[in-house]
Assembly symmetry: C2
């Protein structure tokens, strides 16, 4: 599939979804739309991802495109009216539009009319499908080994770690797949459930459904975790994923230097061993799992500091750990596969 990615005024630093898609998705990215960096190329800014021209808008995309993907999200998740001409042009050219915004494109009258007229699909990845239900508690019955990334906080790299582990496992010849539970993961993989948007009673069920769908087709499933089990606002989602996925192994993800809950600074993070105990003890009565490995994001640290940080984290964890983006995933895959 050939996609254009909308990232106006935010590429690359504040375009997490766009970067995730450029880095991990199988799509052929034909252009990035960003009024501010237009005229440059993706690889002028970021090196370890596929390259593409950066243009001002859909009018400047000459290549054939199957879908326009909204690769950024303003605070609040609304739709920026300045993007409307790009979405309109995309639909008029017969492109589907994929969005992870809180604002659903499928509830926008102009877009639904255009989608009808030009026979395109509006895919709001944050809109849960209608058939979700409660968990049956059977995810552990699938053939695959299920490996879940859990975190000390939000935004510590759970999605990235899941993607890196699955990709490297595949490259090493293992039959591995990702189970996407958030909007960026869903956009990268092209399927999944937005677990943070489902009815709370269906949280575990929405993950179980994904495991059952792929669990007998692969040897390893890497489940994208969300939040943290002690997050003041989001722990419900974390707990539902832990019990719905019924994982065999856990990978604890952390960000170097993080000392308090992001955005909730009055809540200090407890010790790493507290997290290990909590995740393992909470998993035990439903499906026993151990924290068999750790991942720590050392972005911005010097080489020396990064190495020291990884060693310290590994000692606190009592299990192999690394920064998978900086040092690769070999050490982790050795204990996980």
């Amino acid at each position: 599939m050939r996609v254009a990615i909308l990232a106006h005024e935010k590429f690359p630093e504040r375009a997490k979804t766009a970067l995730g898609v450029l880095r991990y998705a199988d799509y052929d990215v034909v252009a990035v739309l960003d009024r501010e960096t237009a005229g440059t190329r993706v690889n002028d800014h970021v090196h370890d991802v596929q390259d593409a021209p950066i243009v001002t808008g859909m009018d400047d995309v000459e290549a054939q495109v199957d879908a326009l993907l909204i690769g950024i999200a303003p605070i609040g998740g609304g739709f920026e009216e300045s993007w409307r001409p790009d979405v309109r042009t995309a639909l008029e050219r017969g492109c589907d539009v994929i969005s992870g915004l809180h604002y659903f494109l499928s509830e926008d009258e102009e877009f639904t009319a255009l989608a009808d007229e030009y026979d395109c699909e509006l895919w709001d990845v944050r809109e849960p499908h209608d058939d979700l239900t409660v968990s049956q508690g059977v995810a552990s019955e699938v053939d695959a080994e299920v490996i879940l990334t859990v975190g000390t906080d939000c935004s510590v790299g759970k999605m990235t770690v899941s993607m890196e582990l699955a990709r490297d496992a595949q490259e090493a010849g293992y039959d591995a797949a990702v189970i996407p539970t958030g909007q960026t993961g869903i956009m990268i993989e092209g399927w999944g459930n937005p677990v943070d948007r489902v009815i709370s009673d269906f949280t575990a069920g929405s993950v179980e459904e994904l495991i059952l769908e792929k669990g007998n087709d692969h040897d390893y499933l890497f489940v994208e975790g969300q939040g943290s089990i002690i997050h003041p606002a989001y722990s419900a989602v974390t707990c539902g994923i832990l019990h719905g996925a019924m994982p065999d192994k856990l990978v604890l993800c952390h960000a170097a230097g993080r000392e308090a809950v992001h955005g909730y600074e009055s809540f200090p993070l407890p010790s790493i061993s507290t997290y290990v105990d909590l995740y393992e003890q909470l998993a035990e009565p439903v499906a026993p799992a151990r924290v068999d490995a750790g991942a720590i994001n050392t972005y911005g640290l010097s080489e020396e500091d990064a190495q020291a940080t990884v060693e310290e984290y590994e000692a606190a964890l009592g299990a192999p750990a690394t920064d998978p983006v900086r040092y690769g995933t070999d050490e982790l895959l050795e204990v996980l596969l």
Copy 2:
């Protein structure tokens, strides 16, 4: 408020909501509708609740009624078409209709038309309001002492225990209120959030909102818990309530003889001390709380067995415990207030 309660063919054993309202609500119940037991009175079947005549349908209710309350739920939570004439008659008489069904009366064309015509309200208590959002992590800032019922499983009496404790505290002269989180509690109290139906990201936030609304008007808030922290399907809701309510004290509720998760019999319940550790350790990083008391449902046990069961539970818990319905709440209130 004068209410009639619909409980066709299910009163009293299978009419949990009807019984809860008869027992705990401030409403004046003028009639129970039950085709099967019509002609008898509520107190012919149940003694410790307010009395009312049981009649065949709304046509036989001669007293003035402000609201018809649907006091039963079929498996699946649908609307039984045989109830339609009663709802229709109620609306035509100007009564509001209160329902905890999954099927929303406010989406039924006939009912909405009648409600418009006769100026009545259709209140679907399971429909979350539109302004819910994520928790800010500030519930602990309210003046009130917050006491949360937590459970070893679903259906172990958390709603009943919350109601008994609050009522007895009020009768003893304390300024106490209930924070309702499920449909029966919401119907009894006339307000609340259906925490199991909200968007999963808003689970904690929907409880926090309730605490903030009442937390500076009372000295004690008894929060109705849901599910269990190791429930394969519902633990997300339990976890969200624990972190959203930020309670000061926990009351662990259990049902005598329960050995496996209700409806999920392949999952044995762990030891009582495992629950205590899990709830306390999970609460700690967000808002520290201890399991200061326990409640156990000994319904159906002989007096001798009930006493032995309470003693055994108390020993396992390491805190005062009782069956509040059988023995009253004095022992529990002594440690909680």
